[in-house]
Subunit: 726 residues, 2 copies
């Protein structure tokens, strides 16, 4: 108690410094669009010189918004307002436009950049030098403007530009698990930013800023409601509200999508069935689609969670996933909408290995889906664990478009108190080699549609956004939103480059800040794997809340909700045997992958207990026993958080005091929780291994029973009045 | 030519900078502590001259925070940082302190300003002129500083100051109806600002800004959890979280209080009973109090809702309110805590008139409560209706402290989409004459304890605060928080003065804005009475949600939740007879009040249907029939909202574009809803009066049935997944 009090006093003192500091308080609301003043005076002078004049005709809302963004940004960064001109002032003018407006300057826009790409180029127009930002479409111009601004935000030269870029994926979508009552399933950043009660009358500035932020990283779709959907969203009363959001999003090149409940024809339409082959059901959906497009002409389509975790679906009527998805696809096709059908299914009759179920259910339907259906597959086979092998469906359905689903909200990654930069997790999955089309057929290539150019492509991120002033709860959680956008645009992007850009745009270009902080960001996900689920452990968190460790959970609502189902620890050893001798889940992968992971000589330590059941004394590559290696990882995991905190302490004064203090507090909480994870898991697994923990390691503060008895109430992200018991 | 162009461009640039500084986005987060730049250059120069130097010793956190506030404010308003000095520079120095530090200058602080008052004075110290801000305590200094800043914020002269002020009420408390799951009962501004999950580790900057705002208007207490309390709040796990908030509040002179569930000894303590006379129960509460004060040495005390709307209480064990309150008071007394015991009780066995119940239950216990118990009484006898007569308990319990309870959150006043400035409502109640101690014994004097100086005094406001960026949902709802603080400090304050100050501090000192906007603020509450509940109608809103009109509600969970119970309209007439010939509720008032309201010649139109049942053709003072008068009020009510909107439109450009646009949207919603109220109520009551609506009035857009069938889902303020049907 006294210990806490002193700590609070210190934090309070820091907060007061934040309140009075001349380094302005920053609540983080502006995200990576801070547009901080360029402090390098030489650079700033160069920027000002080259941007004195502007040719930027704005015939559309998208172009008007692009120009407004440019002006806001240049005012913030350079206190500069480029003068509108009709004639190019050599070396002092930026020309921005589409073929329609650029033809006056005899500038042609290459087809190769497509409908969303852009080209930023220093060039001669006639005899005059200028910077041209060009695109084939208005939204392409917007992306060009945001990326041009990024150059200035990150203090790069704009002297000899020649940047051509276009997205490698068509549908780049945020999935909001937001309920209509404004709770957010697995949301850790306050409540839903959609104020349904006040819509459509009140169009909150926040909706605009949300759209701006998305457009700045190329996100072009938003599913605004939870996949555990409420049929009410399709009522006229709510469609009017959805329309008001769509009107905002449209200006920023974002289409709106809705999660739909498969049984809506019954609940909303009063039909007796939602059987996808029933003509009345088909007509109900077709009519509903017509109605939606009447409100929202550029409506994106439906996201569907069917026959999973209690949701209704076609199987409820003896039909298949293909029957259900295709019926909805037919309703949307006349309007060019798509169906995003989730592959996250698992049966209520628990199969031998939940790992295998999505593949088993979907693989047989390869090629059976309509052209405007895309199957949305989570990155791994279980459920967004700190580390999972790539999902075996990737590469396994060559005739079906597969959409990647990543989770930005940190359901299993410490909520919004743990600093976990997820880009390395995304990259690890995307760069995994499926071998399904020979060596080098990475998940990224599958998702980009490299092996079948006719397929539509997509990537979804489950949003980590809420009403918190800083949107994401943790200042660094914003980086996951940002990185998702960048990787959905270009799946082979480097995590490090993205982190660097984000830090510069969000905080400062001070290299003494960017370099050490980027370094621990890149390490942060591995840290969390280490203190939560090292060596391929998975799904050992607290039941239902998913908060804190729960390796002892063995009495959940169904067997595959139990931690013990996954780690299978006993006195003989630990791990889930998914080799040929076990559940044989590995057979769902290409032979090369299977061989690699099945063989203990080649299976990486990272995936070891995902696929193998081994004795506690099994000798690891390091020379340590499995038990010692496990303990080692738990300890280095927690220790790395402490190290991160020490690095952060040195950042004081380099950024605003408010965010500095907030992150400092968060890191202390993270260290406490990492230590809890470590001690609880080591103590628990020790009851089976019966082996000692090295004397060099600090002893746990409490006995195992203490951790097992911890109770958490009103844990965020699970809605309602929950009185959870662990 | 080129020179001319450049000159022209420079001019344009200047105009643009002026334009963007004028329309700079403002999300309203800073409340009335905007500290906008003083634009009157002559005034600003005068301020700067007189505040060049500062003598402000800061030995405590409260003084440090006061100085930090002063520096932040002067930097914002004047770009001024007064230099610390030890010697007075004549005419250029402000001296701030308590007797302890002021004695060095031979300045004595008068006892008359008490422990929370302050004195701001231009004076000679020796031969040198200076401004002295003095108080007997550190928190008095803080109040002095905030009030000194208000002078500058409102552009008043600081040349010859002589301001002495102190609060007239001891306990000035915000009641948060915030649940531990972060929903807010009757909250319309997002979710609870208390992030219980992240506490105590994360001390949000918002907690500090909340405390600053409260301190700036003299609020010195905060009940952080809902009166419908969760026993969990008293667990050690939560007390640590409460402690973290208390540590923030303390610096700003705010004590923390908790709502407690009367049955906590059973639910939390495992006792078999919560009978207040049971020794084990007494001991449990005494021990719990000791524990709380161990965490929070300046803990304020308990707020209790007992035996009301299903809450447990002493009557559950055959004991009285006095038994219950006194038992808790005994537990808190050693630590100088108080019990705020709510008089908002009504029986599940519906009495002849709910109006009378609180008086009937509490009056007999006058003088039976311990010294540290204060009975918290809502302003009116029913429940925060747009207009209520003052509660008959005021004045009726001369030997018991009564604490006023106002509702800032607009449960019955259009949620957070209607602009309703509530100060006139507060003032109307406070200036009502109870006659219980002769003519002039106003409610304000009762609440101030004028008739028994030994009693403790208090005023509570049910907070309208949530996680919305602007705290209160509607930019103008902030004024109700502000006005509550001002009136709790000084109950006889003028609503107009408060509105003027608030507008200047929150928006601008531009008289062309302040004058017209203040004017409609002062009218706004009467507008809402007119379009919702004119002529003394009450409790005719939608059931449960309290959203929109529901005069037809007749099947609620209990009779006195029905609108028909209150308006009693039929073909013969309308109104609730509370005269001698009716429920005789009027007999609960002093004879003078009763006589005045019972007599149709003297009863004001505003209260008519509160006390009288009259025929539709009853002739009003205006010469109109009751029916015509009713219709007239409904129409002028809705029309006044339209007029307010037209006035607001003229304010464009005078304030930032973001808040201008937000309020414009809100006024459009308000007009729609006011029109709905008008049309629904007129059509409904017409089914009884069978009388025509004047041809000059616009016809309703829809038939009555349309309004009766309107369904609203997930209405805010009632928590959880509600699927309400009206």
């Amino acid at each position: 108690m006294a210990k806490y009090s002193i700590k609070y006093m210190c934090l309070l003192a820091l907060l007061f410094i934040a309140a009075i500091s001349k380094v302005y308080a920053n609540d983080g609301y502006k995200l990576w669009l801070e547009y901080n003043k360029v402090t390098n005076t030489q650079l700033a002078a160069g920027y000002r010189q080259q941007l004195k004049y502007m040719i930027f005709p704005t015939a559309s809302d998208q172009l008007k918004a692009s120009k407004a963004e440019l002006l806001t940004a240049l005012d913030g960064m350079l206190t500069l307002k480029p003068a509108d001109t009709k004639n190019i002032m050599s070396g002092q003018t930026v020309i921005i436009g589409t073929p329609q407006t650029l033809k006056a300057f005899s500038i042609s826009v290459p087809d190769s950049i497509g409908t969303e790409g852009y080209l930023i180029k220093t060039t001669l127009i006639g005899q005059k030098k200028g910077i041209v930002i060009m695109a084939n479409t208005d939204v392409g111009v917007m992306y060009g403007v945001f990326n041009f601004l990024k150059l200035i935000q990150t203090n790069q030269s704009i002297n000899k530009l020649n940047i051509s870029d276009h997205p490698r994926i068509m549908y780049r979508v945020l999935d909001h698990w937001d309920n209509l009552n404004r709770t957010v399933e697995r949301g850790y950043a306050g409540s839903s930013i959609w104020n349904w009660h006040k819509l459509p009358g009140i169009v909150d500035q926040r909706y605009i800023d949300y759209a701006r932020a998305n457009a700045s990283v190329g996100i072009n779709g938003s599913v605004v409601n939870n996949v555990n959907a409420d049929a009410l969203i399709l009522s006229p009363q709510y469609l009017l509200k959805v329309q008001a959001l769509a009107n905002v999003f449209r200006t920023y090149g974002i289409r709106i999508y809705l999660s739909v409940k498969f049984s809506s024809p019954v609940e909303l339409g009063g039909l007796k069935t939602a059987d996808p082959l029933d003509p009345a059901v088909k007509k109900w959906w077709a009519d509903k689609a017509d109605e939606i497009y009447h409100y929202i002409p550029d409506f994106g389509g439906f996201l569907v969670k069917a026959n999973s975790e209690g949701q209704p679906g076609p199987q409820s009527y003896g039909r298949t996933h293909a029957d259900g998805a295709n019926m909805l696809a037919d309703a949307l096709a006349p309007h060019h909408g798509i169906v995003m059908w989730r592959a996250f299914v698992y049966d209520n009759k628990v199969p031998d290995d939940r790992f295998k179920q999505a593949y088993n259910e979907f693989k047989p339907f390869d090629g059976k889906f309509k052209d405007n259906v895309i199957i949305q597959v989570k990155n791994g086979p279980i459920d967004f664990q700190p580390r999972e092998p790539f999902h075996p469906l990737f590469g396994a359905m060559p005739n079906t478009p597969l959409m990647m689903e990543f989770q930005l909200t940190q359901e299993y990654l410490g909520f919004s108190t743990h600093l976990v930069y997820e880009a390395p997790l995304f990259a690890e999955c995307l760069q995994s080699d499926t071998y399904t089309h020979g060596r080098g057929s990475t998940v990224a290539r599958v998702v980009k549609g490299d092996f079948n150019r006719k397929l539509i492509t997509g990537m979804a991120g489950v949003a980590n956004i809420g009403t918190d002033l800083n949107w994401c709860g943790h200042p660094f959680a914003q980086a996951n939103w940002y990185a998702f956008g960048r990787m959905a645009w270009s799946p082979d992007q480097s995590s490090a480059v993205i982190a660097g850009d984000w830090l510069r745009m969000t905080f400062t270009n001070d290299e003494n800040f960017v370099s050490p902080v980027k370094s621990f960001m890149l390490q942060s996900r591995e840290n969390t794997v280490n203190y939560m689920t090292p060596l391929g452990l998975h799904h050992i968190m607290g039941v239902s809340t998913h908060y804190g460790p729960g390796p002892w959970v063995d009495n959940a609502g169904r067997p595959d909700w139990n931690a013990t189902y996954y780690h299978r620890a006993d006195s003989a050893g630990i791990g889930f045997d998914r080799t040929t001798s076990g559940s044989n889940a590995l057979s769902q992968y290409a032979p090369e992958v299977k061989a690699n992971w099945e063989n203990l000589q080649t299976c990486p330590d990272e995936y070891l207990l995902w696929f193998h059941r081994l004795s506690w004394t099994y000798k690891m590559r390091s020379g340590r026993s499995l038990w010692d290696e496990l303990v080692h990882h738990y300890y280095i995991g927690a220790d790395s958080v402490k190290q991160m905190g020490l690095t952060w302490d040195k950042m004081q004064g380099k950024i605003d005091a408010e965010r500095f203090t907030e992150v400092k507090q968060l890191m202390e909480v993270q260290l406490n929780e990492a230590t809890t994870w470590r001690d609880a898991c080591v103590l628990y697994f020790q009851t089976f291994s019966k082996m000692p923990v090295g004397a060099a390691y600090p002893k746990p503060e409490h006995p195992l029973d203490y951790y097992k008895k911890l109770k958490f109430y009103y844990v965020p992200g699970i809605g309602g009045n929950n009185y959870m018991t662990n």
